[in-house]
């Protein structure tokens, strides 16, 4: 066919009513497709029964000085440690410049309750539970990939990028905490 007789391209003609309808229909179909896809993906997110476990209370009175317990919050293990004075002093003596993720000991505990360290017990590298009272910094050592944490649960050496996470919690009384 001779080029002059082919149909005009969009560039040569202003958009027609039909062009608009095509684009509008396509856009509605795309939005509709996404709207249908989202619930199919969203069903993977934590369900109501998982979310219902968001807040727990825990009584500290049974934990002796120098003792750690592991409790469960939202399916995650949580360390609660009653630290010795030596551990607190050791944590406070560390200059911030030596830390990969700088945080003071005070920032990781509650005022007046400095002996209590409450942390999610999953290594911030890939989630293993570190072993207590071990490692090169007298805190925790993660056997999976060799991360060392100090007596305030701060990352000191190894592949983990961050300090062990302190969950949101508060002291309801001197011996009762609420996590979450």
């Amino acid at each position: 066919m001779d080029g002059d007789h082919t149909l005009a391209t969009h560039a040569e003609k202003p958009a027609t009513r039909r062009d608009f309808l095509y684009v509008a229909t396509g856009a509605v179909a795309a939005v509709g497709g996404a709207a249908v896809a989202w619930p199919l993906i969203n069903q993977l997110n934590p369900d109501a029964s998982t979310l219902a476990l968001a807040t727990i209370e825990f009584n500290l009175s049974g934990i002796e000085e120098g003792q750690s317990v592991t409790i469960t919050w939202r399916g995650l293990p949580v360390f609660v440690r009653n630290r010795t004075q030596a551990e607190i002093d050791e944590a406070k003596a560390v200059p911030l410049s030596e830390l990969k993720d700088p945080e003071t000991d005070e920032e990781r505990t509650k005022p007046g309750h400095e002996q209590w360290l409450v942390m999610i017990a999953n290594c911030t590298h890939l989630g293993c539970v570190p072993v207590g009272e071990s490692g090169d910094f007298d805190g925790w050592f993660c056997p999976c990939h060799g991360s060392h944490y100090d007596t305030a649960g701060r990352i000191r050496r190894g592949p983990a990028p961050l300090n062990l996470v302190v969950p949101p919690y508060e002291f309801l009384s001197d011996t009762l905490i609420q996590i979450g």
């Binding site: 934590p46 911030t124 060799g146 190894g158």
Partner: protein, 416 residues
Amino acid sequence: MSEHSTYKPANGVEKWIDDRLPIIRFSKEHLMDFPTPKNLNYWWTFGAILAMCLGIQIVTGIILAMHYTPNVAMAFDSVEHIRRNVNGGRVIQAVHAVGASMFFAAVYIHIFRGLYFGSYKAPREILWIIGVFIFILMMATAFMGYVLPWGQMSFWGATVITNIFSAIPIVGDPILQLLRGGFAVDNPTLNRFFSLHYLLPFVIAALVVLHIWALHVPGNNNPIGVEVKSSRDTVPFHPYYTMKDAFAMVVFLIPFAWFVFFAPDILGHPDNYIQANSQVTPTHIVPEWYLLPFYTILRAIDFNVLFIDSKLGGVIAMGGALLILLVLPWLDRSPVRSGNFRPMFRWFYWLFVLNFIVLTYLGAQPAEGIYVLVAKFCVAYYFLYFIVILPVLSRIEVPKPLPASISESVLGKAHA
């Protein structure tokens, strides 16, 4: 390659079918008459062996799913139930578990054969790329399958591997919760892994069809890497290679059967016979052997690089180690395919193989002392091989003279 077809419908029924769905013609062209280089060695039998492995895994897997319960309270016991109570369950479960290891042993041989003989080079780039995707899907499938028995290694493997996604900046944690269906690996995770573990083998099977389609357009590479030039260079796939592949399958099944009957648990980890416990990590956590090289790469990056922290760096390195295979056809520009005719390449290739074995070994060792240092060198060589050595060799290496054709090479060898 329909031009090679000699199919003539034998009777009226075949003619009737051939006019409507030429499936007999297709089978004859691609499974029987397909012209195949006559110099293929036993390294080329692993394609058929892999197809057999996929078949074994699907058949045994469907049977196991009839007896398995994907619930955290019952999964561990249901696997023991299969092994102790189900008729023949002890062997069927062992075939599936050992089969995963044998599948990976075969796929590594298949991949390293392709690396040595330059099977990724033009015109087989898409064939190679589909193969890389199959390999990645195999690793995902095997990983999810290993979670299903819900032992300690299942649980902590799932925790560690899903945690990889939390390294992604900003959206990492929402993605992690989406994958797990909770804040930790738990029942929702086990359920969806079971669903996906059942699905993915069929996706792999579909990709295998594409892989073979992409193979049948240019035809097979061969040990001298010289393309087929005339029909004298080829033999029909059947009976020459159906028989050779069948023999190789039987040989392959000998160690397979030895593991199944005499040492079904030797490739596993004793900790996986302890039921999953979210409070205690095994002191020495290791993935299955076939994931170890990539696991070593993951944890070798224990230092920050500029704004990339060590965790994200490890994930990028591990992902990169797989994804770099996708661009390999454009990194190795040497026009000579076969390593037999590349005197310098051969040294670096075998060093790469050795390096990969060391990476596997290191993945099973604790992350401390000398192992950490050696791992860094091995990871460096892994990437240097692709990014520096192959591109440079393409420019400076003087290959040995190639035979004029497959026939000449075969006959020359016979007279020598």
